[in-house]
Symmetry: C2
Amino acid sequence: MSELRRDPIVGRWVIVNVEDPKAPKDFHIEPHHYDDATNCPFCYGNEHMTPPEIQAFRHEKTHVNKQGWQVRVVPNKFPALQIEGELDRHGLGIFDMSNGIGAHEVIIETPYHTKDISDLEQNEIEKILEMYSLRSKDLEKDKRFKYILLFKNFGSSAGATIDHNHTQLIALPMIPKNVLEELNGSNEYFEYRDRCIFCDIIHQELEEKERVLEQSKNFIAFCPYVSRSPFEIWIMPRAHKLSYCDISKEELSDLAKMLKDVLRRMKTALNDPPYNFIIHTSPINGEDRPGYHWHIEIMPRLSRLAGFEWGTGFYVVSTPPEVAIKYLKEIKL
Amino acid sequence: MSELRRDPIVGRWVIVNVEDPKAPKDFHIEPHHYDDATNCPFCYGNEHMTPPEIQAFRHEKTHVNKQGWQVRVVPNKFPALQIEGELDRHGLGIFDMSNGIGAHEVIIETPYHTKDISDLEQNEIEKILEMYSLRSKDLEKDKRFKYILLFKNFGSSAGATIDHNHTQLIALPMIPKNVLEELNGSNEYFEYRDRCIFCDIIHQELEEKERVLEQSKNFIAFCPYVSRSPFEIWIMPRAHKLSYCDISKEELSDLAKMLKDVLRRMKTALNDPPYNFIIHTSPINGEDRPGYHWHIEIMPRLSRLAGFEWGTGFYVVSTPPEVAIKYLKEIKL
């Protein structure tokens, strides 16, 4: 018999196949191939193919919009939202609408066309993670924005349209629904118990040990009890901090190592699967709440959403986290 | 510039590409091919390949679990949930869990291996729709269940694992999150205004005319202002009825015609796309609320969810409903 599990933060149910769990070989994962680098706008020498850079970490004596960068941030050439203009929100009968004000940036993680985060050195990853924070802090100054989302699509079936590894940043003039649900859920818990639900999850996971993948001084990585996707992994700071921007220098370095290890395990165990990772952090400009706790959610894209998921918000998980963790742990780093 | 639109029921935002909308030819839709019928468990003569039938409409003098049926209902051979057992819910530290009690049935829509709903005659579709209601009413008697979901996956990228056209029914021991959100949203509106938000949407759509695809005595089909998917279509009864089970004989016949026409338009305009349809109806066994209004949501699967959608609950819609409707309307039936 399957098992139903309920997420204590947002109230989402998942159906976990505990009786006949899928192994990595049961997922039909197309091997990841990088396309030809010749016309890649994110490669050295092609800097003119992107809009002018917003910010970069560069080797000494190199020039803006020329090669020699380590991490480079540019505006998205086909932005979902545009930075220019006044925010205009109004009603339309019973509907609400707004013009598409926002920021949409691309953080090019590395000059190497075929290297993903798990292939990079710890100090290179640290620079990417630092850039996430720098860009967020810069955009926070814009009072039109309420939320900054950092996310990565790896592989075309996870939504990547350019192979060269990159992260996207979108600044939004409102708090998105999924974030609001997490905020409300964790805040309700906080008000009732005067404790953070994410801290309590860390506590319970460390006590049960069953789903913990990695531990370091500042972070813990685990397969969440209420995973939505097989082999889902969360990385959470041990310290109760609301926002990714509060990350310390020491934490950056610690996180870089853990992210590398976790992604390396996932890549090896699952044959380089498509995945998304999302930084879950607090809203900005006065919209944060004390019960929140920033973290990273990594979801390999191994299954398709169908009518059942669309209709209910349930997820059917073919590999329980308690089983997934075994495959991930046995990978040698 | 794009446009942000907010759904008044659940508060979901979508980003609509109003400036450079995608046309049907811009979506890379793999033509739908039916696999070989020889080993199809849903074809005449293969009735022994499914678990014994639960209910069927049959031609006179034909026998249970033999050919001669028009619509046939069987238990899902690989059920997500199982019907036998007592419901057992308990806490696990901060998590909630339950055993996987539920019903999972398959409604085989037609004996024809390669016919979808839009290829069938109106009276054949009527029988499918009537079966939805009969099965729901039967399962409502089971007091363990709180919700019955009817949904269809067409095409493998919409989640179908068997090509032969069928609908799935899942009875759940709890109200799923997405349904709860719709219920709460519509009920809040109802309590404040003493009006149904779905009735108000019908009213506004009929007044604006811009997104209305079909109208009949009892139903209206339209592309919703806050579509999540390009070419999304909703079919809504004009009468304020909470549950699909309240459908009248006249409405059944009317709906059969509209569903056929709408699916035929979508199939022709978009080159037989994969799609999901979901019947949104009230919870059962005392959990319904006066502000709800049952309806059908049809979503062609033309885009992929990526990190942005996962992180926010936003959807990026590449064809505004006001544009989609033009392509759908110009199809000759």
